[in-house]
Symmetry: C2
Subunit: 334 residues, 2 copies
Amino acid sequence: MKQATREQDALARHWKRLYAPIADELAASESLLRSELTSDDPFVDGLVKHAYRLGGKRLRPALVLLAGKAAGKTSREHVVLATVLEMIHTATLVHDDVLDEASLRRHRETINARSDNEASVLVGDFLFTHSFYLASSLDTTYACRRIGHSTNIVCAGELRQINSRGNFELTEAEYLSIIDAKTAELCACCCRLGGHYAGASEAVEESLDRYGRNLGIAFQIADDMLDLVGDEASMGKSLGTDLEKQKLTLPLIRLLSESSPDERVEIRELLASKSRADRSQIALWLERGDGMEYARQTARRYADLARVEAEALPAGEARDVLVSLSELVVSRQD
Amino acid sequence: MKQATREQDALARHWKRLYAPIADELAASESLLRSELTSDDPFVDGLVKHAYRLGGKRLRPALVLLAGKAAGKTSREHVVLATVLEMIHTATLVHDDVLDEASLRRHRETINARSDNEASVLVGDFLFTHSFYLASSLDTTYACRRIGHSTNIVCAGELRQINSRGNFELTEAEYLSIIDAKTAELCACCCRLGGHYAGASEAVEESLDRYGRNLGIAFQIADDMLDLVGDEASMGKSLGTDLEKQKLTLPLIRLLSESSPDERVEIRELLASKSRADRSQIALWLERGDGMEYARQTARRYADLARVEAEALPAGEARDVLVSLSELVVSRQD
């Protein structure tokens, strides 16, 4: 939810300008999403309509449509797939919302946490299964196979991330591999499907896959930095979610790798501490080192890789938007 | 989990005899399940292997294979679909396991409840997405479409069930509609797919669908009765899960409908009570009325409808097993 809000804030300004070349197709996908996400049962209907409103900037459908338009032209299949991918993204947002023990404790007096938790799991499942149903309305199993494979990789990536909590030895390579799976894989899938259903060659499909993957990695590094910046700005009043979950992201991985053994011991103690004051000391360490700058440069490097792939596509409005997106994802924290 | 264990207990005795005609295909499905549920990451690998062991009697794969054999002959597609359906069933078991507030409270000191909760959601998602990936390895989108549609109905049914908690006005028709969606739909889907991939006519597919649906309804009524019998037997020491969740099942719906207005007020107060002693009084009310017998007869009626469909199939070992299964599902509580 927090991530979605942030993404929406950062991208809302650019929305109209950016998505202009695919405005009609996006509108068609929105109305398909609305008409698919219904139920005869009023309770179920209310829940799935609520889930529908969780989505923000519609980046995944935009990637399907832009890749399609850049590689040839879009068809009804693109609109269906754009809708499918947004449903899947929304399912993962809903499941991210499943309350953890801490949230349950905080909310116990105010909401029926148990029912909310169980309903969130089922609404996410409803979205997942409906997205597969919709994907299988296409002529062949190609999209189902690609989407099934990619979403499976996303789940494995999120599980690996859970397992990495409290692991203060996490390497940059491990971090990159996790965000490749949990975030970049679905972006790559969107772009590849967009190209495939526009009749792109295998080489262009591969290039679009790389575009989406590098864009996704850049996006996630930048998103993780925002989590730490938020913490820095509020001077420990509201801890970054990642810090609270003892989740190492790129600035911290760099900070640890550039520190002396003694400093590392001290930083790891701060990271492991349950005290907010201790953890807010991390901001000071980050200010002294080059972790944030290093992460910014790394994000920029992946964004540049994405841009190079986009620039190799045939000239056109959609191609230009893909290039602009590669700028936008790393300029968010500036 | 509890349900799985019970089913396993009740059916283990009959397993070897029952599944003999499809022993080879079931073994092939087991080994496909094993080989599909793996991950390069040891943490993810351990979790999905644990999920694999949750399954019990393999009723869903057996239905796919038996329906296929009864309608013609089974092929590689049946083995794949049997595996897909077992994965989906396991995914729903894993998501049923997502700890509610009460469980979190009980387990707080002994396990890392938060991580368990989040991991359960993601492992279930991993199984769902992998099952769709596997289903899309078949030649056409037929199975994906059917499975996507049925699993979507299952999710909506489970959501309606959550919403029915604490609703002591739930009618028999509403109850039957919920169990049709949450349990019977997937059984119907298994049988229909089994028939379809054996080249059955549309009429036989429809008949197999009805067999699975009626079997599933009979099975769920009987399963719900076991929940209350468990409570009765232990004299309130271990409350039935459904009673604890204020979930009305058929014996209670019948009890309420046969009671006088004054009695209904009293029974509803017991149902709504947070005191275990109060709720264990329900057992006494059930003993006085005909709720259990009425539920038994209703389950029997649906089992008979299933049997009639099975008996109309061509004679053979697989057909005979389908007939036996319609007996078994209602004799469990005897």
